[in-house]
């Protein structure tokens, strides 16, 4: 057990330093973060700098934000930038952050909801069209088959989201060039869709 506490201490020290060291950080942070997540270094550990035993943080997010030597003294966005090329690690990192918010949603009381809040959210969980959101959504919905294909490069994240039915296929058409718009629609949409669209557009004209 003592060895584990010391190991967590060293991992925290190394990751904290690496996340503040520019180019070196890009190389070192992914490997160290994998170990930190694997060993749950935010929990009970020895603080290497002082030798004292620390009870640990309640969640990973607090560990990231807390100042050294207890925490990493950085923020979620910085870590994400440093690991943005490793989708698997990004997924694990997001999962660890979400542990702090297991129930999600707006859980404020009715009174609190009526008040205007000036507080700034510390962590912006991924939303909308972002890569992080797509990874989180596929992971949450247990579409590991699609995640595997994304990881191996067979499928893009957007294609995986479409295949899972979480994103509707859309195309952008120019509104100032009908020829271009028609060409785009004909080349991307199915014949059934085009028949239905023609009917709807002509119906609208006659009514």
């Amino acid at each position: 057990m003592t060895n584990q506490l010391v190991e967590r201490g060293y991992l925290t020290q190394s990751l904290g330093n690496a996340s503040h060291s520019g180019e070196h950080g890009f190389k070192a942070v992914p490997g160290l973060l994998k170990l930190v997540l694997d060993k749950r270094a935010w929990e009970e550990r020895i603080i290497i700098e002082t030798g004292e035993e620390f009870e640990g943080f309640r969640n990973f997010e607090a560990y990231v934000a807390a100042n050294p030597p207890k925490g990493l003294g950085t923020d979620v966005d910085t870590i994400e930038r440093l690991i943005s090329n490793d989708t698997e690690l990004l997924k694990a990192f997001r999962a660890a952050i979400r542990e702090a918010h297991p129930n999600g949603g707006d859980r404020k009381s009715k009174e609190a909801k009526g008040k205007i809040s000036f507080s700034i959210r510390k962590t912006d969980l991924p939303v909308g069209e972002t890569k992080a959101y797509a990874l989180q959504k596929l992971s949450d919905e247990k579409r590991y088959d699609l995640l595997e294909q994304v990881k191996s490069g067979k499928l893009s994240l957007h294609a995986a989201m479409k295949a899972a039915g979480f994103r509707r296929p859309r195309i952008a058409i120019y509104l100032d060039d009908p020829k271009s718009a028609a060409k785009t629609l004909v080349s991307h949409a199915s014949p059934t869709f085009l028949d239905e669209l023609r009917r709807l557009l002509f119906d609208q004209q006659t009514t």
Partner: protein, 83 residues
């Protein structure tokens, strides 16, 4: 150390459009600064960026509605003929 732009940022044309608005369309640029217009809305109005609409190609009803809301009558007439 060279910070390479993120892939997402490479597709983001807003910096170029803002510079162009500042240089050639100061009135629209002022609207963007005041927050009364988005960069894209101002650029479309200035004619330096094409007006576009995102069409859902799995739902014809939704697509027709989007086209009717966003397209001009002339555009719709010509599109109907071409389709």
């Amino acid at each position: 150390m060279i910070n390479k732009p993120h892939k997402k940022d490479l597709r983001d044309r807003s910096d170029k459009l803002i510079n162009r608005l500042r240089k050639d369309f100061p009135e629209l640029y002022a609207h963007v600064l005041l927050g009364t217009k988005t960069v894209y809305a101002a650029s479309v109005q200035a004619g330096i960026y094409p007006s576009r609409a995102s069409i859902n190609i799995t739902d014809a009803k939704s697509a027709a509605k989007t086209l009717q809301t966003k397209g001009s009558p002339e555009f719709l007439d010509e599109l109907k003929e071409l389709l």
